[in-house]
Symmetry: C2
Subunit: 213 residues, 2 copies
């Protein structure tokens, strides 16, 4: 089955990080082999959904036995692009930007925050041994120097479109946008939106339904 031609539900990819997490746990517990049933239970999906999800990327299991934990981990890393380190530059060294810069969950997944950028002069300079906040004018130079691929947008929403354009000009291939606005960028640029308000308002809706507003 030629991997490049298969199409699969968009939701499939969003389940892979969850598979990755439970596999990491099994690995820690020195469990070498796991069945789709056991794993699916832990993730909260059906076994057939798990098997179907994996099947889009080849025949990754062992019939009659289950899935080899270590092997499946390396395959999932490959699928999610975790087989090599990806470097992030955070634009907007404010409350959220600084929280993300100090979030260990990123490094655990091969994602390294390597620089921050801000227009506020007062924020420029080293934060610690590894991290420095640069002025925006350094965007292209530091991207090149540090090998940054992904720009994280944690600037106020009014600045987001302009900053996105600067990031594209500076050569970033992908944007991870936390500002609550839709960005206009060239089609070859990958954009991932992270909209926290959608989550809490979904919750609020359920709450309103349950309580009768």
């Amino acid at each position: 089955m030629p991997e490049g031609l298969v199409t699969f539900p968009k939701a499939t990819i969003s389940r892979f990080p969850l598979y990755f997490r439970v596999l990491t746990e099994y690995n820690h517990q020195n469990i070498a082999l796991v069945s789709s049933e056991e794993m699916a239970q832990k993730v909260g999906v059906t076994p057939s959904q798990l098997r179907k999800d994996l099947s889009y990327f080849g025949s990754l299991g062992i019939r009659g036995a289950g899935y080899d934990v270590a092997y499946l981990l390396t395959k999932i890393k490959e699928i999610l692009g975790m087989d090599r380190k990806r470097r992030l530059g955070i634009i907007g060294a404010g409350k959220l930007g600084m929280a993300l810069a100090g979030y260990s969950g990123l490094k655990q997944h091969g994602l390294e925050v390597s620089a921050l950028f801000d227009t506020d002069q007062a924020k420029w300079g080293a934060i610690n041994e590894q991290l420095t906040v640069f002025p925006l004018s350094e965007l292209a130079v530091q991207r090149e120097r540090l090998g940054l691929e992904i720009a994280v947008l944690t600037v106020p929403k009014v600045a987001a479109q302009r900053v996105a354009e600067l990031a594209v000009e500076a050569g970033f291939a992908a944007l991870w946008n936390f500002a609550p606005v839709r960005l206009e960028v060239p089609p070859e640029i990958i954009v991932q939106y992270e909209d926290i308000v959608v989550g809490i308002l979904t919750l609020s809706h359920h709450l309103a339904r349950k309580l009768g507003t």
Copy 2:
């Protein structure tokens, strides 16, 4: 059409916050009437999807004319439970918890962070005029006193399950969980997961595909 009986796609609700945002903009610009085509364009959905989404909640537009901005805003507020203020208690006054506590986007949607809780004694006390960090033992008392409904979990993942149980015991009706773990709670408790790693790994996958890993 009896509102309570209609079923609709889960994704419908997650589009309402986006509709709300563009309507707020129209409102600011003193635009009173807007067509599904114009609005859909701005949000990034098809006009028929927008109309279908709204139709699940009644006949909210005016045939031949469009949607009345002010009216639709009040209806969407109702649907999303924004017609009254909801109070949040943040458990875990760390990097992310503090960022959320200072996030103006919440208040703009009728969501008010009214207290924080932490086990770390060094964090206890007032942050500013409005906000205080309490010890976890105060959870039930302060929930009652301040009218907190939603517990925001921004604690390390190893603590999340235990903290969720404490929040339920303390009488919270809903949990907004930022820790990367599935929570075991009674079925009547509403849980919304916010998993940032899913987003960035989805992006990483697209990047790997595009660049050939």
